[in-house]
């Protein structure tokens, strides 16, 4: 069964993606006077009332929560820009230019700084529409994975979209790569592949589906029964054959993949 090794290790939870997004800089307007802050991650300040300053998003949200500042929504979150981006997304197949963490930033601002955004409902609905259109494009692009796509390049995809398809696309690409190179690459990782050796002889298509193997047993039994009937040798075989025909074959026919 194809799969990335250590799939739990390499997955980022949405909270971790949000954590990374919280380091992006936003502009705030403080309403207090404070000396500069010398953090491990950088120096910010000093803060003067009504003078705008750039700080990381986590710091902005912390100050906002304590009522010490107002957050200015970033340039790209204006209604004009978002409407333009939405038009662009709908018209072309490529992704429009948006900040890498636009999903997380917009979500955090809607949750915690709603009153600082003008026309927040309009902005929110625009962002959600953009997310839907982009994700629909992502899904369409996934259908274009082929066995020749060993190196795929996408422009302007956002962090959250990447994270959603990371596990699936990694496994799919790895499955394509392994099926391409099955003779060349020996199977070193025994703990992943628990199936017996003769699985490699089965046709590749079968790996994708959960098919139940159906053996044409009834052909051979048919011959045996015919001969035994002629010889009038084993009526029990006839009985068993009839039971097989009546009960087992219809069951197998229902389970056969179409």
């Amino acid at each position: 069964m194809a799969g990335q090794s250590g799939s739990q290790l390499s997955l980022f939870t949405p909270d971790e993606v949000e954590f990374v997004a919280e380091d992006e800089l936003v502009e705030i307007v403080p309403n207090l006077r404070m000396d500069s802050l010398n953090f491990i991650c950088g120096d910010y300040g000093p803060f003067y009332p009504q003078i705008a300053i750039q700080v990381p998003l986590w710091l902005a949200l912390a100050l906002k929560k304590r009522g010490k500042c107002t957050i200015r929504p970033p340039q790209w979150m204006s209604i004009e820009n978002l409407t333009q981006v939405l038009e662009g997304e709908r018209e072309s197949h490529a992704f429009q230019t948006l900040p890498f963490h636009y999903v997380e930033i917009s979500r955090l601002l809607f949750d915690r700084a709603r009153d600082d955004i003008p026309d927040v409902y309009m902005v929110r609905s625009l962002v959600e529409d953009i997310r839907d259109v982009r994700f629909h494009k992502v899904e369409t692009n996934l259908e274009n994975f082929t066995n020749s796509s060993l190196v795929l390049q996408w422009k302007n995809m956002a962090a959250m979209e990447v994270n959603i398809i990371r596990a699936f696309s990694g496994r799919a690409l790895q499955a394509f790569y392994r099926h391409e190179n099955e003779q060349a690459v020996p199977d070193l990782d025994r703990t992943q592949d628990r199936q017996p050796q003769n699985l490699n002889d089965r046709p590749r298509v079968c790996r994708s589906f959960c098919c139940i193997p159906i053996f044409p047993l009834h052909h051979w039994i048919d011959k045996i029964v015919f001969i035994s009937c002629l010889l009038d040798y084993c009526p029990t075989i006839v009985f068993l054959w009839r039971a097989y025909c009546l009960f087992v074959v219809p069951l197998q026919r229902n389970l056969r993949p179409r």
Binding site: L9, S10, F19, W58, V151, L173, Q174, D189
Partner: protein, 217 residues
């Protein structure tokens, strides 16, 4: 800072600006992301760890400030500590997962820090003893090795190795030409532009990743 691409003054200026503005936390964040996304264990960032520990100590000693500033410093400290702890935790999980493989390969063993090497050795011993006691001592002599399936195996086929052909998502930090990749993969991947999201097999980009030219996302 190297400007090895030789593209003129712009790349050198970019590198210089990156160099002077990159904090330890940025480097740690990058190391954390790379470690999390990579299928095998990467080189331990010893210098980063020691400098961060010094800064942690300094930050926690700050006092005499008002409660607001204290809480903000505490938040910053918490964030950095989370990154550091998660980084170390991911490495430990990888060690535990591929314990026999790491102990066998010198290359992997050299990527661990001293404490991690001690941990790996003792973990390997414990696991070996456990397997012997529960299962292997009860199997026939030809089959009771924890590294080989049977005495007839030529290589250590009971040892799970990290899957280097798994696919990862990466971004190049600068333009990468075909020379930066291993020659055997040069027909698969010839170049990578800056800041373009790429889905690629891990082993193709292993060399540029070690040289710091690629970031895993």
């Amino acid at each position: 800072m190297d400007s090895g691409t030789g593209e003129g003054s712009t790349s050198f200026t970019d590198d210089y600006e990156t160099f002077i503005s990159t904090t330890d936390v940025d480097l740690l964040k990058r190391a954390w992301r790379n470690e999390k996304a990579a299928p095998e264990i990467l080189q331990y960032e010893a210098a980063l760890r020691s400098s961060l520990q010094e800064q942690n100590v300094e930050a926690s000693e700050a006092d005499g400030e008002d409660p607001l500033t204290m809480s903000l410093y505490q938040m910053d400290l918490d964030r950095t500590q989370f990154l550091l702890r998660s980084y170390l935790r991911v490495r430990l999980q990888k060690i535990e997962k591929y314990i026999f493989h790491i102990l066998k390969t010198d290359e992997s063993l050299n990527r661990l820090s001293d404490e991690e090497q001690t941990f790996a050795a003792s973990c390997g011993d414990d696991l070996r003893a456990h397997l012997k006691e529960t299962v292997l001592s009860k199997l026939p002599t030809d089959y009771n090795s924890e590294l080989k399936q049977s005495a007839a195996s030529e290589e250590d086929d009971m040892v799970p190795a990290p899957r280097l052909d798994s696919f990862v998502i990466c971004k190049a930090r600068q333009y990468i030409s075909g020379l930066d990749f291993e020659p055997e993969y040069s027909h698969e991947i010839t170049e990578m532009e800056r800041d373009l999201l790429t889905f690629v097999c891990y082993k193709f980009i292993k060399k540029p990743l070690e040289n710091g030219k690629i970031d895993l996302v």
